[in-house]
């Protein structure tokens, strides 16, 4: 794969049709919008090395309740924009008075972005078996720009990881990751994810992670 570090304004291609994410077109040429890694395939995408998470519909995210209003929980989703979880999006029917019994300020939840409107009002939902409050395990935070690498192409990396470390893992697009398993397994999962975050921009990562896990497990016996 052909990859290169680019800065904003770098000329990437003279073919406007190859413009992908993180690029823009001027006078029929494709330029970079971001400081990051440019991937030259059919389309040219620039993946940022840093930046804030901007929620999009359908994203799985992990949030922390930071306030409760008349019928909404206001959820911090590690983004410039807060998420709103309406009571009707809670899997059970509950009364307004009982909201804080189910989700208190400080509660962590695995949730999904239902909709984002042009003024960046972010609506969340808990209506899915995979989603819900976090009661066990731990949550770690990585840069959201590394999440695609952690998931891998078609989920290859994350499904391998779940199997190898014997943990339940929920990856939020906002860079927060929930892990649950035995203390030893969680420790290994944590170190593996840290390694993936650190080397997210290198090639052949999945193979190296498989080797890393093999070695770690061998040491444990």
């Amino acid at each position: 794969m052909d990859r290169k570090v680019v800065v904003p304004g770098d000329l990437l291609s003279e073919d406007a049709k190859r413009s992908g994410e993180g690029t823009y077109i001027r006078d029929g040429n494709v330029y970079s919008l971001l400081y990051g890694l440019a991937n030259f395939r059919d389309k040219i995408n620039v993946i940022p090395l840093s930046g804030k998470y901007v929620p999009g519909p359908g994203d799985n995210v992990i949030g922390v309740v930071k306030d409760i209003t008349f019928s909404n929980w206001i959820v911090d989703i590690n983004s410039p924009y807060d998420g709103l979880l309406h009571i009707s999006e809670y899997p059970k029917r509950i009364d307004n008075e009982d909201m804080s019994k189910h989700l208190r300020i400080g509660s962590s939840i695995m949730t999904r972005v239902k909709d984002v409107d042009p003024t960046m009002k972010v609506e969340l939902t808990l209506n899915d078996r995979k989603l819900g409050p976090i009661r066990a395990g731990q949550v770690i935070e990585i840069s959201h720009t590394r999440v695609p690498r952690l998931i891998g192409k078609g989920g290859s990396m994350i499904s391998m990881l779940k199997k190898e470390v014997n943990c339940s893992i929920f990856v939020g697009q906002n860079g927060r990751i929930w892990i649950s398993g035995s203390a030893k397994d969680m420790d290994l999962a944590l170190r593996t994810i840290t390694l993936i975050e650190r080397e997210a921009h290198t090639n052949g990562l999945t193979d190296r992670i498989v080797d890393f896990l093999k070695k770690e497990k061998g040491a444990r016996g």
Binding site: Y31, L33, L34, Y35, G51, K52, V54, P80, E141, R176
Partner: protein, 248 residues
Amino acid sequence: MDETDISFFKDGLRLDGRRADELRPVKIEVGVLARADGSCYIEMGGNKVIAAVYGPREVHPRHLQEATRAIVRYRYNMASFSVEERKRPGPDRRSYELSKVSREALEPVILTNFFPRSVIDVFVEVLQADAGTRTAGINAAAVALADAGIPMRSMISACAAGKVADTIVLDPMKEEDNFGQADLPIAMTPGGDITLIQMDGGLSPDEYHRAVEMAMKGARDIYELQRSALVNKYSQMTEARPEGGACL
């Protein structure tokens, strides 16, 4: 203007040994602050400037918020110890003006419509001043914005030209700025679109064109330095980096 008995040239070289069209040495470091989303430290000759970018983040106070785009705030500040005579701390007329023109130099390249209802805060602190702090501040701020992952159409580079002893010089240092005949700072994109131009003192139309030409050439050289500073930060990252994911 040139009443003082300073001679600006010795054997065809300037007081610090530069040629008329030579920049002062520049050093750029990226990502120097752990708490900022993007940061940059720059030295341009005797100028030492640090820039920090925070955001996009929620706007406080709320009434400044714009429904369709991010606002950009730029604060230029000189440390009280940055000049020979202690500067009274805090904003003054000069720093208000520099904050405004510097913000307007950077705003045209930032894609503010990507982040409605948010703010991008840029803080520029001058630690040591030696003429040309606004250009150093803009150079540092542009690198810090890129480091923060903020989408921009291009980088911005800034450089000044001046006139001393009837000669056009690039990147004047303190003596030339204080006792010279003119100072002309510019900021521009690598493509040559000028986003800031100011002039202090007097230049004839011909001198003006030559000064702009010279400052643009200087800004292009600075652009290459900004670019390589950003690219080098990444190549360091390829080697092991000892920080990991923090626990929540």
